[in-house]
């Protein structure tokens, strides 16, 4: 992490204080101050930039000065000089207030990098640090505007402290002690620090962000994407490849709002975005759009999933394509909205009254979010069913180098609309094809007028039916239709170079940690097999064979054992969960240790 600003901005101080608070936590760390050559360079110029870099981790820091993955830039100059150091996809937090035309000009920016697309490869957060600090100052007697603005380095420090969960008391104590004789300064520094900290927490602006290690890279053209953008683009791709216009209806909620923000920018793809009055409405809007022949998608997180459940049940009996994105966050209830967790698997699997199975797709990497969106579209459209995509805060906010796919290689998705009667007696909306999928006839098609509803329907005709056998049949057909998707998805791949006894099987964002842990284990000649599920319902056909061929099965999960439960129930194997519920991702080193104990 790197603080950069004008030499007058107090970057060294911020850096040192952060380092101190970090050291208290027992983290290993290496710092690297980076002063400007001149003692007093003119404000806002490139050579006046002062920086301070900190590298910290829980274990064995190997390189003293890796590329920083977080940069705090207090002005355009600091951004310009320090950006090249930042790793692709890193986080850039800028003090928006300094990005005036004059300052931009001074360092040769022709357009404002916050507004043009030049920072697209990074995760940028623009925060009006000076404005906020100034406000904080207004409430303190005897603090001038200037003094207040000068405290902005403490704001930045507070914000970063929040992001990394550093303790506040260490810094507060230091401020109290250091400025004990300068009442106004003490107060404004303290206020600025807390303002930064609270800003992070209150506005839900920042997720905690972690570096994802890039795997070995195949040749091709790369760019950085985070999971949110990749997912949004995947939905657009699904729309393009199916020819179905995209309707994205959503109610804002951290961290899923990013999808709404991103998609609302792409109206030239015919994307319709609606900010609904709540999550229930959003789900219904998506479903209404689906009835109209659009790709109806709704996205949410945590509490929103609960609210959508009734509508997902309706979609499942309507048998219409629809996608529900769940960017999981730490629960239960409001929980810790900016922290990651993956504890909604059973909620999306079973969280509806009655029997209404729904396919679930879960990306493993930020880039994988793109593929998951297309795959969800494919399944939804082919099988006429709602499909869940389970992402999480960590995937959504993390970025990684991503091999840009060729559009032609993306699957083509045939909506296969029905345009004429499918039976001698006219149109039968519940007459199925060999996939058990029903016809999709959209309003506007002459002669195929029909009504669908949530009451049980007669096989074939779709008319309301209270017939007992019919209900049983329809219940089983709906289930069978979803089960059969297993024939149409890739087999579960196992990576087991050494013939291991232990299988580590995961889902979702634990992928990186599992792969890295396996690399480490194999590094000391440990034997471990790994596999990763991206289809959670149904499971790939060979899942049973895979899991049963290992004497030990370990399932690392960011919950208390949800996939573990599904595997145990389905395959009667004594799968063990390595569970972590801290709002944090699992780390490779930690998992390495867990694996070691089981070898």
């Amino acid at each position: 992490m790197r603080f950069a600003g004008d030499s007058g901005d107090g970057m060294q101080l911020s850096g040192n204080r952060f380092a101190r608070a970090t050291a208290v936590l027992g983290n290993d760390l290496v710092t690297m101050p980076d002063f400007p050559a001149e003692i007093r360079a003119p404000r806002g110029t490139l050579h006046g930039v002062s920086a301070f870099q900190i590298h910290f981790a829980s274990h064995d820091i190997l390189t003293p000065g890796d590329q920083p993955n977080v940069l705090v830039a207090m002005n355009p100059a600091a951004l310009k000089t320090n950006l090249p150091l930042v790793e692709s996809g890193g986080v850039v937090i800028v003090n928006e207030d300094e990005f005036t035309d004059r300052n931009l000009d001074k360092v040769g920016y022709k357009t404002n990098p916050l507004e043009d697309d030049s920072l697209a490869g990074y995760q940028v957060y623009a925060v009006p640090m000076e404005t906020i600090t100034k406000r904080a100052g207004e409430e303190i007697e005897g603090v001038t505007n200037r003094e207040a603005i000068r405290a902005k380095n403490f704001f930045a420090l507070g914000l970063l402290s929040w992001m990394y969960g550093r303790p506040t008391d260490v810094t507060i104590d230091w401020i109290e002690a250091k400025f004990k004789n300068v009442d106004a300064v003490r107060q404004i520094n303290r206020a600025a620090f807390m303002a930064g900290h609270n800003f992070g927490e209150t506005t839900e602006m920042f997720g905690v962000l972690y570096e994802v290690k890039p795997a070995e890279m195949a040749p091709g053209k790369y760019r950085n994407v985070n999971g949110s953008v990749a997912l949004a683009w995947g939905l657009i791709a699904g729309s393009v490849r199916s020819g179905l216009p995209l309707l994205y209806a959503s109610y804002p909620i951290t961290p899923a709002s990013e999808l709404l923000h991103e998609l609302s920018r792409h109206k030239n793809f015919g994307v319709r975005t609606v900010q609904a009055e709540d999550e229930i409405a959003a789900a219904n809007m998506a479903l209404g759009g689906a009835f109209g022949g659009h790709l109806g998608v709704t996205g949410t997180a945590g509490p929103g999933i609960d609210l959508k459940s009734e509508t997902v049940g309706l979609a499942s009996i309507y048998e219409l394509p629809m996608i529900i994105v769940d960017v999981q966050r730490a629960g239960p209830s409001t929980g810790m909205p900016t922290k990651t967790e993956a504890a909604d698997l059973l909620a999306v699997m079973y969280g509806r009254h009655g029997e209404s199975p729904v396919p679930i797709v879960a990306p493993a990497t930020p880039g994988g979010c793109f593929d998951a969106a297309i795959e969800a579209t494919r399944i939804a459209v082919r099988y006429r069913t709602p499909v869940f995509i389970l992402s999480d805060t960590y995937l959504g906010n993390s970025s990684e180098p991503w091999l840009i796919p060729s559009v032609d290689d993306l699957p083509e998705i045939d909506p296969n609309f029905t345009v004429e009667a499918n039976h001698d007696d006219g149109f039968m909306p519940y007459l199925r094809n060999t996939d058990l999928a029903r016809p999709w006839a959209v309003p506007g098609t002459p002669g195929l007028e029909h009504r669908i509803g949530g009451l049980e329907k007669e096989d074939g005709t779709g008319n309301i039916s209270y017939d007992p056998e019919n209900h049983e049949r329809m219940t089983r057909i709906r289930a069978e239709k979803i089960e059969r998707i297993a024939d149409d998805i890739p087999a579960l791949e196992v990576d087991d170079p050494d013939g291991a006894d232990l299988l580590v099987i995961g889902w979702g964002s634990t992928h990186g940690a599992i792969a890295a842990a396996a690399r480490r284990v194999r590094g000391w000649n440990g034997k471990v097999a790994i596999a990763h599920l991206t289809h959670l319902n149904p499971f790939p056909k060979n899942t049973e064979a895979v899991v049963r061929s290992y004497s030990k099965v370990l399932v690392p999960e960011l919950n208390t054992g949800q996939l573990t439960m599904m595997l145990r129930a389905r395959f009667l194997i004594d799968a063990e969960c390595y569970s972590k519920v801290q709002g944090l991702p699992i780390r490779a080193a930690e998992l390495e240790q867990v694996i070691r104990e089981r070898l």
């Binding site: 697209a120 040749p219 760019r223 109206k267 793809f269």
Partner: protein, 337 residues
């Protein structure tokens, strides 16, 4: 397709209605089926979206496209459809419980957004399908299954609520008055944005006679205040009564002879300010005495679906049609060999 091609039969599905005999829903169904051919939209371009309740069954009886949704969510379901398919003619049918109790929020948001949907609110002042609990339009003191000692909740006035929610078209009519119902439907159909029509509907099993004052031969002429845009508001067997405005914004009913014709309030449904329509909605708290029916308000405001389309068109104008490869390759990229 030309209007003349369609008949009532074309809008009548093959499902036999399953309401109780004598239910007001039959009359409404018959009127709607009859009027549809006159509206110039083909059955296959028409969609009825219904909520849950006796009223919700309506969708099954129209030979159009239809969705029977879940309880209370029909306006949202219809919004999704109407904004993605502005070419369709989208209707919503909902009971008073469906629209005003569980679905109240979707209703008011659809109205403020001015989504192009026509909402038929079947107000029977009772929960029919669940066999007779009171609804948000039932009167205080009503004895029902869930209120053996009388309901305590002050009811909504659905039209006042709609006006408070920025509705652009607000009307009221009566199940059995086919002519008035038909006229009102036509006006709603012609309205470019969201239209809500409250239809007083008799539930003869659980709340029989709730609207007798407005439907009984003996009393209906005395009690129906028929609003006509541009006309002075008067009513009564011989048009002997009228409505005047008081200095405190409220309205009163007077004998025309007492005030003189010129002092009667003239109805103007096109006022930008909803205050007059609101005062009219509040003239009768309950339909037990003189009660206005007809179109209270009909004003123009940008239509939500259209506005979305316009944004898409303008984005395409400015940026060109979206190209997926360009999007994926936008921003910083690098090659790995």
């Amino acid at each position: 397709m030309a209007t003349a091609e369609f008949t009532k039969q074309d809008f009548t599905s093959n499902q036999e209605p399953r309401w109780c005999p004598g239910c007001g829903d039959y009359a409404i169904l018959a009127s709607v089926q009859s009027v549809m051919p006159d509206l110039g939209v083909a059955p296959h371009d028409t969609v009825f979206v219904a909520g849950i309740g006796c009223a919700g069954r309506f969708a099954y009886y129209m030979d159009t496209y239809g969705m029977h949704g879940i309880h209370g969510r029909a306006p949202a379901l219809a919004t999704g459809l109407a904004v993605s398919r502005p070419d369709l003619f989208v209707w919503v049918v909902a009971g008073d419980g469906d629209a005003l109790s569980i679905g109240g929020n979707h209703l008011i948001h659809a109205l403020r957004r001015n989504v192009p949907i026509k909402i038929l609110l079947f107000n029977n002042q009772i929960y029919g399908l669940t066999k007779g609990q009171y609804s948000p339009t039932s009167e205080v003191g009503k004895i029902t299954k869930s209120t053996p000692f009388g309901a305590l909740d002050h009811p909504f006035n659905p039209l006042a609520l709609a006006l408070g929610a920025e509705a652009t078209f607000v009307a009221r009519t009566i199940d059995v008055d086919r002519k008035h119902l038909t006229q009102t439907l036509k006006q709603a159909a012609a309205h470019p944005g969201a239209a809500i029509i409250e239809i007083y509907q008799n539930c003869n099993v659980f709340n029989d006679g709730a609207f007798d004052a407005l439907t009984d031969k003996g009393t209906k002429d005395t009690n129906q205040i028929r609003l006509e845009h541009g006309q002075a508001i008067r009513f009564g067997v011989e048009q002997e009564n009228g409505v005047v405005q008081n200095t405190d914004g409220s309205l009163s009913i007077v004998a025309v002879d007492d005030v003189g014709e010129d002092h009667l309030l003239k109805h103007d449904a096109h006022l930008a300010d909803p205050s007059l329509a609101f005062a009219l909605a509040n003239l009768a708290a309950r339909p037990t005495g003189p009660t206005p029916i007809g179109v209270f308000r009909a004003i123009e405001r940008p239509v939500y679906g259209q506005a979305i389309d316009d944004q898409i068109a303008s984005a395409r104008d400015k940026l060109g049609d979206g190209d997926l490869a360009t999007l994926l390759n936008s921003g910083d990229a690098w090659d790995v060999e």
